[in-house]
């Protein structure tokens, strides 16, 4: 039998049972579409995270305070202080600049509008550079303004919108808690980075935060505590060496050991690899779940092919009487199973790619259709068809012609 003949016979058989064939293919359609959409979602998430992380710049070291609060009336234990930053700047080779940040959560008012629980981020002049923030309007504060505790503020884009709407906020006043600040700038929209919304915050000189929002009795003794120190390093410098120097310096300053350190030093690379391992685990989990639905689809094909062989026993007998060989019978039913899975796979590709685009445009999740995984899903469908079609096809090939002709 010519392969074209096998395809023709298989196609006729599928066409004669339209509904059944479609239902059989549905398992494969869902399986292939699921693989494509799942992979597109996780690839989209991964791409977004990658872009956000690389937008931070790769020559940054993050020093974060592992802050332990003291009991009532006790001083807080550990954590970073403002002077640590200066010490790092001076005591570590290869450091270009340091930026510190400390924040508080306050109520912000402008005119009639009052917003509660707004993050007030006190920082230094290098902040826009290390966090890759651009000004949309106005200017950033300078070192003199930090020294003089100037009551100035730069607004995140969505906060500016919420407080002032279409009016130009530059030169206007915002009241944070009881402190009146002059708006001197507005940042461009930045979006979410990780879990942090950069656009809903208010940025002010760190000295004002120390003075107005996080004054502490203990600050006189220990120095003002800060949440984070960004260390911008010379790209040529040895990063590991710098990390070691920072660790040694802070251990000495805080009078702790490396095991009891009240701070952590991480790099951009650490964050990237953590994210990568999380997303790749997520991606392979999704792919496995989708793969299982492909196998379920294959079992559906096997089930229907077994029914089909039984139903068509007489037809097989007739074909045997006119001289079909077992190999031709096997080829015919295998072709039918393969065709169900390949047609199902093609419909699944269309549904999957279309679904990924529609999902990407309707939700705020980004989807990136991966050509390789699309082809892999389709290829798997074809393999599933052959694998699960072989047993029924072989059953058909093994039929005894006399028994088959007698079958009612």
């Amino acid at each position: 039998m010519k392969p074209s003949e096998a395809v023709h016979i298989a196609w006729e058989a599928i066409r004669k049972n339209k509904i059944r064939s479609l239902l059989t293919m549905l398992g494969i359609i869902i399986g292939v579409a699921a693989v494509i959409i799942m992979v597109a979602i996780s690839a989209g998430t991964e791409a977004t995270i990658q872009e956000q992380i690389t937008s931070l710049g790769s020559n940054l070291v993050f020093v974060q305070g592992a802050f332990t609060r003291g009991g009532p009336g006790q001083p807080p234990q550990g954590g970073l202080v403002y002077d640590d930053a200066a010490a790092i700047q001076e005591g570590v080779d290869g450091v270009v600049s340091v930026v510190v940040e400390q924040f508080s959560t306050e109520t912000v008012k402008a005119g009639d509008i009052a917003l509660e629980d707004v993050e007030i981020l006190g920082t230094t002049t290098g902040f826009p550079s290390v966090r890759d923030m651009e000004l949309a309007d106005g200017r950033y504060f300078n070192d003199q303004e930090i020294e003089r505790n100037s009551k100035v503020a730069i607004l995140g884009s969505s906060l500016a919108e919420a407080l002032f709407g279409d009016e130009g906020p530059i030169g206007q006043y915002v009241t944070v808690s009881n402190t009146k600040l002059t708006v001197i700038g507005v940042f461009e929209e930045k979006g979410l980075v990780g879990n942090t919304d950069f656009d809903s915050r208010i940025y002010i000189p760190i000295s004002v935060v120390f003075q107005k929002f996080t004054p502490s009795f203990f600050a006189r003794i220990r120095g003002d505590s800060v949440r984070m120190i960004y260390v911008e390093v010379n790209p040529e410098a040895n990063l590991d060496d710098i990390i070691t120097q920072i660790n040694l310096l802070l251990v000495k300053r805080h009078e702790v050991t490396l095991d009891t350190a009240d701070f952590t030093v991480t790099t951009q690379q650490d964050i990237i690899s953590t994210q990568e391992s999380t997303t790749s685990a997520f991606r392979s989990l999704l792919a496995w779940v989708a793969g299982v639905s492909l196998i379920v689809g294959g079992i559906g094909i096997m089930n229907i092919m077994l029914v089909s062989v039984t139903e068509r026993t007489r037809e097989i007998g007739i074909r045997q009487a006119v001289g079909v060989t077992p190999a031709d019978i096997r080829l015919q039913f295998l072709t039918e199973a393969l065709m169900l899975s390949v047609v199902g796979g093609m419909i699944g590709m269309v549904v999957g790619v279309g679904g990924a685009y529609i999902f990407g445009s309707l939700s705020n999740m980004r989807t990136v259709v991966q050509p390789a995984s699309t082809l892999l899903a389709f290829g798997s469908a074809a393999v599933v068809g052959v694998f699960f079609g072989y047993y029924p096809a072989d059953q058909a090939a093994q039929l005894d012609p006399i028994e088959a002709l007698r079958y009612e």
Binding site: M1, K2, Q320, G323, V324, A327, D328, P401
Partner: protein, 248 residues
């Protein structure tokens, strides 16, 4: 004139099952059928006539003995070789017509050709040949009809056309009139006689002595053994009295 032997069996037996529960369906049957003969195989139920037909039709193998079809020993062939023999040398006509449902007469007739590995025919040539066969059985106006659109007699004629398309050395007919009314039965018998006249060798299995009487010889089986061979009077198949005799 001694035509060459198309079918020659030598002492063939067929045993179903094993050990104590085995049944000996054929106990040593030797028959010769020569080219151009029209032969009936008769016998009551359980006489082994179906078993013999299956072996002659290469649908099963004898347990022992030799079966030569067209001077070739086919009694030890495997499944694949038997399929090829059926495809090239045999034509079947069944009681229940056994046409493929929802498939046109033309496609039913050309079915054996698609399984011919030895000398594959193009689809166009196959269709042409199938049309010739349908014309031969008087159905040139029913080429594209499907079985459910045809009467029983017409379906059987499609089956006959299918049996002839590979130019078989012998046509094996199993109760070809069994499912038909008297008139259609007569038409089918006339068609078989016409084919016989054209030189086709026909072996017909039947339990009906009246039908068997229309052949040249009747081979009778009882209990798996050849009982006797009757040489029928009505061997002149073109005898115009045949139709009258049957019409009664």
């Amino acid at each position: 004139m001694a035509e060459r032997k198309i079918i020659e069996t030598v002492d063939i037996t067929k045993i179903y099952g094993m050990g104590d529960i085995s049944v000996e369906a054929l106990k040593g049957v030797s028959v010769d059928i020569r080219a151009g003969e029209f032969v009936a195989i008769m016998g009551p139920s359980g006489s082994g006539k179906s078993t013999l037909m299956h072996i002659l039709g290469c649908l099963s193998q004898p347990t022992s003995g030799v079966y030569r079809l067209d001077e070739e020993d086919v009694s030890r062939l495997d499944k694949v070789q038997l399929a090829a023999v059926r495809n090239r040398k045999l034509g079947f006509i069944f009681q229940a017509y056994n046409l493929l449902a929802r498939t046109s007469a033309l496609q039913n007739v050309s079915l054996p050709l698609i399984y011919d590995h030895a000398s594959p025919m193009s689809a166009a040539d196959g269709d042409g040949r199938a049309r010739e066969m349908l014309e031969l059985v008087g159905l040139s106006d029913r080429v594209n009809h499907q079985p459910h659109e045809l009467s029983g007699g017409q379906q059987q004629r499609v089956a006959i056309a299918r049996a002839l398309i590979n130019d078989p050395v012998v046509v094996i007919a199993d109760e070809p009139t069994g499912n038909l009314d008297t008139r259609s039965g007569i038409e089918i018998m006339n068609l078989l006689h016409k084919l016989h006249e054209r030189g086709t060798t026909i072996v017909m299995v039947t339990h009906d002595p009246k039908i068997a009487a229309h052949t040249q010889r009747t081979i009778q089986l009882i209990d798996g053994l050849l009982d006797n061979i009757v040489h029928n009077q009505v061997s002149q198949v073109s005898n115009p009295t045949f139709e009258k005799a049957d019409a009664k």
